[in-house]
Structures are given as C-alpha cells and as structure tokens.
C-alpha cells in the first residue's frame, strides 16, 4: 500500500510561479514539463492528439465537461452568493432574475448582528480545533506504538483497532449517547465540547493511516537514535514527529473537514446556544426570513470554500489518498 505518494498529476497542476525572472521556478517548470513528456500519459498518446478527429472529439468532450462542471458544481453556489445580497421578496418571486429591485446588504447584516452567525462560527472553529488535536494525538502516539515500539501486545491492539473499521457508525449512535450522558468517570458531557472531541479521536482510519506511514520510515534512523541514547519519548518527539509532517497534514485535513461536516452527533450533544456549532444552529434557523437564511448559509460556506481554494492540493491529495487506503 503506497501511502503518501503525491499523485503526480496534482503535483503538475500547481499554479506556475508568476515571477518571470525566477530561475528556480523556471527550472522547476521545465522539469515538470519533462515529467509529463517522459513517464506520465493517459490513454491518448501525443500521436493521437495530432490526429484531427481524435483531437476535436476529446477537446469538445472536455469543453462539455467543463460547462457541466460549472453549471452543476459551481452554479448552486453562485446562486447562493447572489441570494445573500437579494431582497427577500425577490428571492421568493424571481429567484433567477439578476437583482430586479437592486442589491442589499440587509440580509448579511441581519445574519451577522441579529442571529450572531459569527459566534456560532467560532463555536465551529473550536469544535474543529479540539477534534483535530485529539485525532492527531491519538493517531500519532497510537501509530508510534503499533508501528515503531511494537510491544508484545501491539498485535492484539492492532486487530482491536482494525475491527472497529468494520462497525458501521449507526451501531454506535445510541450507546455513545448513553456514555456521554453518563460517562464512567465525571459528570455528564452533554453541552461540553469534550463530547465531540473525544469520540472523534476514536478513528481507526487515522490510526491505520499513520501506522502505515510510520512503517515506511527507515528503521536505521531509529536504531541510530537509540544508539545515541534516545528513549521512546525522545525518539517520538525528535525523530518520528518531525518526519511525519506529511501524514499529520493529511490527518488534519480529514479531521477539519469531518468536524465541519458533522451534524447529527453535535445536534444530539451540543444543544445549548453557547456551544452549538454552525451546522446545528443553521438547522434551527430553517424558518427565519429567507433572505437572512440565505445570507447565513452563504457566510457558513465562505470559510470552508476559501480554505479549500487555498489548500486545494492538500485537500485533493487527501481525498485521493482516502480512496487509495480504502482500496
């Protein structure tokens, strides 16, 4: 199983550096082009692309695909962006018309001031940060024990973790709720962020992903560090963690996306307005004024979409990796 190989097509699609005088960038670009010309290729060869019939067929198919992608994937979001600035009566009567009675910022103001979208937004960030921390902590320390330290009981632990991959989420819903309401130690976790953070850490997928990555690290380095007198903790902190930056990045992206998407679990355990994340709050807003609702939806979409556009390579690599590991 190859874990963290960057899918090379994504590597080749990074935006070309803009500075023309940058020699480094030019060399890099040339090298990239060489890569394309040498190894990588699809079903169509350079010779195929020179044949007019093939070229025109595939060009037009690609064009149709682009139009479909814009209409189908981007269209609804553009509409949402427009709704955020459209007076409510226009949204209701002529949703597709282009600002018949002018644009307004009233919706956005209402969503921000009267419905405190910003506050719920911060709650979502807090939920994501905590889930991220717990997931990374459990996955790296757990992966380290399973893959590097390998005590006698590691094999049993490995199977116990793997086994949970095969238990569908539906089974856990009610018993997990019972445990959160009445945990083995301490008071009820309802309305506490811990109720979302801690269960998020129990992700077998992360542990397996990280353990696989650690498996691929060269053992000689560990041996050398041990020779120099590094104990297990030192080895983890100074050698393994710095080397595992790529996989921690992937786990982080998965963690943030997942906690941003989650609805049912936070809906059950984070009930008070002080801790509710956006997804739960938006759901309870379904009956407010349409203009305000649309503005709230648009604001909630902005940050994830912006994050995706900035870190697109990481997102796309992570998503592809998800399939590679599942496969």
């Amino acid at each position: 199983m190859t874990t963290v190989q960057t899918p090379s097509s994504l590597r080749t699609t990074q935006p070309a550096p803009a500075v023309p005088g940058d020699v480094d960038a030019r060399v890099r670009r040339r090298r990239r082009r060489l890569v394309i010309d040498s190894g990588e290729r699809g079903a169509l060869s350079t010779a195929d692309w020179r044949r007019p019939l093939v070229k025109h067929t595939w060009r037009s198919m690609h064009l149709v695909l682009l139009v479909l992608l814009v209409v189908w994937c981007l269209g609804p979001l553009l509409l949402l962006g427009k709704f955020a600035f459209t007076p409510t009566q226009d949204i209701q009567s002529t949703p597709l018309a282009f600002f018949p009675n002018g644009a307004t910022t009233h919706n956005v103001e209402m969503a921000w001031t009267r419905y405190h979208i910003g506050q719920f937004f911060l709650n979502t960030v807090w939920v994501a940060v905590g889930s991220w921390f717990v997931q990374v902590l459990v996955a790296t320390t757990g992966g380290y024990v399973l893959s590097v330290l390998r005590p006698a009981w590691a094999r049993a632990l490995h199977w116990a973790v793997l086994a949970t991959l095969f238990v569908p989420a539906v089974v856990l819903l009610v018993p997990l709720y019972k445990i959160v309401v009445d945990p083995p130690i301490g008071p009820s976790l309802i309305n506490s962020y811990l109720a979302v953070w801690l269960p998020a850490g129990a992700s077998a997928f992360n542990v397996v992903l990280v353990a696989r990555f650690f498996d691929s690290l060269p053992r000689e380095i560990f041996e050398a560090a041990r020779m120099d007198g590094a104990g297990p903790f030192r080895l983890f902190r100074s050698i393994v963690l710095p080397m595992s930056r790529p996989i921690v990045g992937v786990v982080s992206v998965f963690a943030v996306i997942a906690s941003w998407k989650d609805f049912l679990w936070p809906f059950l355990v984070l009930k008070s307005d002080a801790v509710k994340p956006l997804s739960v709050y938006l759901q309870s807003m379904a009956n407010v004024d349409k203009g305000t609702l649309m503005a709230a939806l648009a604001i909630s979409t902005l940050i994830p979409v912006a994050m995706f556009l900035v870190f697109q390579r990481m997102f796309l690599r992570g998503a592809g990796l998800g399939g590679a590991v599942k496969g």
Partner: protein, 317 residues
C-alpha cells in the same frame, strides 16, 4: 500468526530464559511502561468511545431503558417489536430505494468524469477543483439551499428553470413519488466530487507501458480506454461500490432536514427511524433503536461478506 509462533519457538535458549525471568523492573527498563504510556490516549479514547459502546450496543438491545431508571432485561423483545412494526417494510424499502437511486445517479457519473479528466493535458487542477467544490460545502448548508431550490411554487428555482422549457411545476419534496429522487439528487451533488478525485488518483497509477504496448498492437483510442484504463480501475470500483452502499444505507441528514421522513413516510429511512425511536417522543425507546441499528449493521456485514466472496476472483487486478 503461524510464522510468528515458529519464530518464537526457534529463539535461542538464552533469550527464552531471560523472558521467563521477566520482572516488573526489567519490563520497565525495556520500555514496557513507556509503550503503555504512549498507547494511553488510544486505549482510553478507543476503550471508552469505541470498544465499550460496541459492547453496550449488544447489551442495550436486550434491555428496556430510558437512561434514567435502572435498565431491565427483556430478552429479544426489542427485536420482536421491531419485526412486528408495520413501519419496518416501509423503512427497509425506502432505504434500499435511496441506495439504489444513489447508485444509478451517482455511480457512473464520477467514473465518466474522471476518465475524461485523466486525459486532460492542461488545467486538470481547474477541473478537479470545480468537481470537488460541492464536497467542501457544509452538508447542512447544501440541504437547506437545495430545499429552497425545491420550492414547490411555480416561482421556485427548479420550477422556474423547468418552466422555461414547458415542464412542471412539480411539487418535489411534497410528492410521495418524487421526494426520494429529489433527496438523492442533492446527495449526489454533494458527494460525487470525492469519488471523482479517488478515481483520478487511481488513474495516475496506470503504467504507461500498457498504453505503449496497446499502441504497438494498433489499438484505437477507445480500445485503449476500454481495455487498459477501465480494467485498472476495477479494484477501486469494487471498493467504492460497496462503500457507497454501506454509506447510503445509513443516510440521515437528507431525509431528516428535507422532509423529516415525509410525505406519508415516503422518505423515512432506517437511520432516521433509529433517531426517532431513540430521541423523539415517537418511540422513546433506546432498546428498540439499538436493536434496529444492530439489525442494519448485521445486514451490512453479511452483504459485504457475500459481495467480497462473489467478487474475489474479479477484484484481484
């Protein structure tokens, strides 16, 4: 397992003696304690929030409990109540219908898209960003937005668009026959991009020598796509198929937010029913809810097992 046992018996006697002489002190000195400390986050989190709930699921399914009073053992009564409930056939049918529609809408489209995109020589990034964009939209946002698109009035977004070509107006979510396909359409919009990226990642792994060889044999473009590209995706396709079925069988968000199971139970799925049984006044029975979720899990497990048995010979590529 067997090789490990063999290794253990083959160990030199000196080592074996040392192991027999193991005391807590030597265990600590050899790093046993630090392994345990480092495994602690995993053991605690998995123990309390994964392994223990799995055990609890089985226990709760044979109990009558409201989480306040001490639970009472009722044997298989919860399962019998579920089986006797007239809603069960409806719920099963709806869930299967959702999964089937999701396959019909959502399975071929990402495949075609990914194969087309893998032949792009430029702007592959633009295409994949566009395709993946809906995946990063928070699902609640997507559902609430689409719910507005499905406005049944002639002024609704979809009805306006279809009205332009002389169709409709349709009542979408209020129509028993139309509600489920409407839900699946949104779910497909939200999920297809992720599958496209998985296929694209798999397509990068096609060895170019295979294409070169096909060209030497005089294969046309379409033959290359059909006989080289597609077979390479076979393994991934098998996995995504079963994962999609497992995922869609547990659909909750769409039926809950779009229609809350209506109209007339037309979109009540298993997961939504589990939710209603446990957390609303309709059922208020945690026992029945866990029994139902265990039944679904058992069904999915058996189905996956049969699936992998049946496709074992094909999926090894």
């Amino acid at each position: 397992m067997t090789t490990a046992d063999a290794v253990r018996t083959d160990r030199p006697p000196a080592l074996a003696r040392r192991e027999r002489a193991r005391t807590p002190a030597t265990w600590v000195r050899r790093g046993g304690l630090s392994s345990l400390v480092l495994a602690l986050p995993l053991l605690l989190v998995f123990g309390i929030f994964s392994w223990w709930p799995i055990v609890q699921a089985v226990v709760m399914s044979v109990q009558e409990t409201n989480l306040i009073d001490p639970p009472t053992f009722v044997g298989l009564e919860n399962f019998l109540t579920i089986f006797a409930d007239p809603l069960l056939p409806t719920v099963v049918r709806n869930t299967a219908w959702f999964a089937l529609l999701a396959l019909v809408f959502g399975y071929p489209v990402p495949l075609v898209g990914a194969v087309l995109m893998s032949e792009l020589r430029r702007r592959k990034g633009l295409y994949s960003v566009l395709a993946y964009l809906p995946v990063v939209v928070p699902p609640v946002v997507a559902v609430l937005l689409w719910k507005f698109f499905y406005d049944p009035r002639p002024e609704g977004v979809f009805n306006t668009i279809l009205g332009a070509v002389g169709l409709g107006p349709y009542s979408w979510l209020n129509d028993q026959a139309m509600a489920m396909p409407a839900l699946v359409l949104e779910a497909t919009w939200a999920a297809a991009g992720g599958t496209v990226i998985i296929y694209l990642a798999a397509l990068i792994g096609v060895p170019s020598e295979l294409y070169d060889a096909a060209e030497v044999d005089g294969a046309s473009v379409w033959r290359k796509v059909w006989h080289v590209t597609m077979p390479h995706l076979r393994g991934v396709l098998f996995i995504t198929l079963i994962l999609q079925v497992i995922g869609t069988a547990q659909v909750f968000l769409e039926p809950f937010l779009f229609t809350n199971g209506g109209p007339n139970h037309a979109t009540l799925t298993v997961m939504l029913w589990v939710y209603q049984l446990a957390f609303t006044s309709i059922g208020n029975s945690f026992g029945e809810a866990t029994a139902l979720s265990l039944l679904l899990a058992a069904f999915l497990a058996v189905m996956s097992l049969v699936y992998f048995r049946l496709t074992r010979s094909w999926s090894q590529s």
